[in-house]
């Protein structure tokens, strides 16, 4: 145990171990207050309910409406948590401490993103049944598949969102700038996620759903890699 600590001081923990440390720290902070989680869940449920009144129920059936509602709510609720991700590091210049630690910059990014992923998925775990309940979805046949889409969509969302959270927190317009930068990047997440969900609920063949899932997977691979590689360049010595 002691030798481990000594090693860390010299070379730092490995990429994954470092990321786990950062993620555990962030989740512990969030678990103790649950402030962001509660507000994101309440926001998501309110959005789901309000969307219901935005359409004429005789013109658009609930099943056609639900995928759009689900994924639009998902992006906006995600933004709420993302802003906090680096917001908590501003207090007492905690970010400087994190940067000075022997944890690789890529690990910091991946850890932050992992914590955000847990956060977004926890919100989804309540929002998806919420949509199913309020919109009378036949989720019994596709619950697992929708959960899979949610995981793929959440990975892409937190990859881009975590990077922009780190960026915008240092600017003058922080809360306003994050959605402005991040939302265009959520478009190639929302379209495939909503389309795949709609196809699933309509009972379309699996091949049609898979085409959209491949697009989501490609987005995840490109942007998780891209953002993790670009994150260290945010800093002067990067």
């Amino acid at each position: 145990m002691r030798r481990d600590t000594a090693n860390w001081c010299a070379v730092g923990p490995s990429l994954v171990a470092g990321a786990m440390l950062v993620a555990r720290k962030d989740l512990a902070i969030e678990y103790r207050t649950r402030a962001a989680f509660v507000s994101a869940v309440v926001f998501a449920l309110l959005a789901i309910v309000i969307f219901n009144f935005a359409w004429d129920p005789t013109a658009v059936s609930a099943v056609e409406l639900a995928p759009g509602v689900l994924w639009v709510t998902f992006t906006f609720a995600g933004l709420l948590g993302l802003h906090r991700s680096f917001g908590v590091e501003q207090l007492d210049h905690a970010m400087d401490g994190l940067l000075a630690s022997p944890i690789a910059r890529e690990s910091i990014f991946l850890g932050k993103a992992a914590a955000n992923l847990v956060f977004v998925l926890a919100v989804q775990a309540i929002a998806i049944p919420g949509v199913a309940l309020f919109y009378n979805l036949p989720l019994d046949r596709g619950l697992l598949a929708v959960a899979g889409i949610a995981v793929l969509a959440a990975i892409g969302l937190v990859a881009v969102g975590t990077l922009f959270s780190a960026m915008t927190v240092n600017t003058r317009l922080a809360e306003l700038l994050l959605p402005m930068l991040a939302l265009p990047f959520f478009v190639p997440i929302v379209i495939p996620a909503a389309q795949a969900t709609a196809k699933l609920l309509a009972g379309r063949p699996a091949g049609e759903v898979l085409a959209w899932l491949r697009l989501l997977l490609a987005f995840d691979l490109v942007f998780v890699t891209g953002c993790a590689l670009l994150f260290p360049y945010m800093f002067e010595d990067g």
Partner: protein, 247 residues
């Protein structure tokens, strides 16, 4: 009295500023191309005069995407070399690119209304261009929201690179719906093989129109260079005056 005259900021020509020949050439080129497009290029059979907007729309779209590609490229080079001239160029290119993207988004609907019967449709090209515009805007707002010059350059470079990665994804995801936009006139395989074979029947466009379009693309590219040069000079002078003010 003498001191008064010296401190007066009025009518002091900047020392050693030569005539900007590239800007003049670009302006003459654009005017010339428009004259050619209006009076010396035949009318399209089915679309009539509405088709003339192609000579503004397509070259502007070319410049918009070229400018954005250069923003991403110089951003990546900046992260590598940390030369502030690269950042200045990226900022200039983004601003000029926003201008040309706006031109694309205005001329498109003007043409689409009489031809398609609708101002806007969620076609892949239209949507990608719209999001290109949003990213340009976000890029410039981000730059405006950061005071530290080096931090601004790094963040902007990262956003520029990510934006270039995003556009193909938006295009692809919207393309998986149906697409309504006319196919590319110049770059389609059929048009290229038609040009190469020299057979007029296989060309997608009469040679007079094609010449006008190519000239227009050249003129617009020159206009882009001229604008970026002006904007770059301004940025360099701003940086110099900031440095002077800080010292």
């Amino acid at each position: 009295m003498t001191a008064n005259i010296q401190s007066s900021p009025v009518a002091m020509p900047a020392p050693g500023r030569a005539v900007d020949w590239i800007a003049i050439l670009a302006a003459v080129g654009v005017i010339g191309v428009f004259v050619r497009a209006m009076f010396f290029t035949p009318l399209e059979l089915r679309q009539g005069a509405a088709q003339k907007i192609l000579y503004v729309h397509a070259p502007a779209a070319w410049v918009a995407f070229l400018a954005f590609f250069l923003v991403a490229l110089t951003g990546a080079l900046y992260l590598w070399l940390r030369d502030e001239r690269l950042d200045r160029f990226a900022a200039s290119s983004a601003e000029v690119g926003l201008l040309f993207t706006t031109v694309v988004l205005i001329t498109g609907p003007i043409w689409a209304k009489p031809i398609w019967g609708t101002w806007w449709t969620w076609d892949a090209r239209l949507t990608s261009t719209l999001f290109l515009w949003f990213i340009y805007l976000g890029y410039l707002v981000l730059r405006g929201a950061i005071d530290d010059r080096r931090m601004r350059a790094r963040y902007a470079a990262i956003l520029g690179i990510l934006g270039a990665m995003l556009i193909p994804f938006i295009h692809l995801s919207v393309y998986l719906f149906r697409t309504l936009h006319p196919l590319p006139v110049l770059a389609s395989p059929d048009a290229i093989s038609g040009l190469a074979s020299g057979d007029p029947a296989r060309r997608s466009m009469p040679p007079e129109m094609l010449t006008t379009l190519l000239l227009s693309i050249a003129a617009f590219t020159l206009l882009y260079v001229a604008f970026v040069r002006v904007r770059y000079r301004l940025a360099a002078e701003q940086d110099a005056s900031d440095a002077h003010g800080a010292a």
